[in-house]
Symmetry: C2
Subunit: 224 residues, 2 copies
DNA sequence: GTCTATATATCGATAGAC
DNA sequence: GTCTATCGATATATAGAC
């Protein structure tokens, strides 16, 4: 036998990875590593090491580091979409929206790595249309109940949707940044507040229509 | 003369930096580099090169890369604070809050590098209390008018403040991510919508109080 | 306070064997 | 599809001269 005795069959050498779906394993390991060290520190080399494959192996499955991160982002969008759909499955339109907002924030806490890959990776989404596509259903989960509340006005429905999504997103991001404190209590505070803010936005929905008027004419002189 | 002829006095060698306030120059150059290449790609080495100093020089002023980024974040918090104060200087409480929300979003667009250093650097703020301190006045700019609207209820004022800040922040972040489109039009759309959403939150303020009730008793069974 | 020089590390990505 | 080997680049950070 050669130096390494082929090293696979008889002695699987501790975590050696030599079979199955390397692509899927890379995605999962990437999620783990982002959780442990943060997205910026994630590297292809470390993922390879952890899986016991050569540093060249991942390049059979992903063109580069960004492509791997994009695959993680797609997975994140899918999972978040599923959770939102479950959360917004029943109740009045307002209840469904509030539940979706709470779920959005909890997802960010629970699946921090996935959420960061989706929202904090700085990937140019126009370069990765798969992400946009996967994210589309997220918007729809909010849009459907919003349309009920907007009384047939599509523009109003779109505005309500994007205000609610932005609000949920803001709560999620600030929570991850520690603004609501730390620990599970912080998550619940942020989630409940996002839900309550959603109800408040719905109640004050009429104010959202003023956006059009404000944006309409040219107003290049506005100063700071 | 030695090999380089001391190289400074007579021939300032193109952008050579040999005087003045290197600390301040580093902060400015960092802002420039973040704008050009993005925060993750920023490096001390490149900042040094651009200033024409040795790579070791910055370490006289900043312990490490994070410390330099923290200094940029402090500058960002100061500048944002000033802008918010100007924007929220007059009008009714609701008008001041809406103006602050719009200004928050515009700042993120206008001063993208600073905003990213403040909000997207992933620096542990508890390690850099200077940032938290500098950020404090941002919260106050929102809190003061919110307190007027909350009719003496401090808890309600705090909730309204944090809902509005989270909403403004969410609009800013999503705008930078391209969700509102691209170009100056996207900024205005996001800013105006953040302002309108602020007014909607104020109008629906009563719903924010339900947070307390919702969080109060143990409710570990909620499912996904 | 800045420079030169360097130690140390790590990474992304590719070529070519098997 | 995976491995070995490696190139080339870049980074952070320190030591010691000036």
């Amino acid at each position: 036998m050669t130096r390494q005795d082929r090293a696979a069959q008889a002695a699987p050498k501790r975590g050696r990875y030599h079979h199955g779906d390397l692509r899927a394993a890379l995605i999962q390991t990437t999620i783990d590593l982002i959780g442990e060290r943060g997205l910026p520190e994630f590297s292809m080399a470390e993922a390879s090491r952890r899986l016991g494959v050569a540093v060249a192996a991942p390049y059979r499955h992903f063109a580069d580091r960004d492509a791997l991160l994009a695959a993680v982002a797609v997975r994140a969008a899918e999972l978040l979409g599923e959770r939102l759909d479950s959360a917004a499955a029943s109740g009045t339109a307002a209840q469904r929206l509030a539940a979706a907002a709470r779920t959005y924030v909890r997802f960010a806490a629970d699946q921090r790595s996935l959420f960061q890959a989706l929202a904090g990776s700085g990937l140019d989404k126009s370069s990765y249309p798969e992400i946009e596509h996967a994210a589309r259903s997220i918007g729809l989960t909010f849009l459907t109940p919003a349309a009920e509340l907007a009384d047939g006005d599509e523009t109003a429905a779109a505005r309500l949707t994007s205000a609610i999504v932005a609000t949920a997103h803001g709560h999620a991001v600030l929570m991850l940044d520690g603004v609501f404190g730390s620990g599970p209590q912080a998550t619940e505070t942020a989630a409940e507040q996002a839900g309550a803010a959603t109800l408040a936005l719905i109640a004050g929905q009429a104010h959202l229509s003023n956006v059009a008027e404000a944006v309409a004419p040219d107003r290049s002189e506005e100063g700071i």
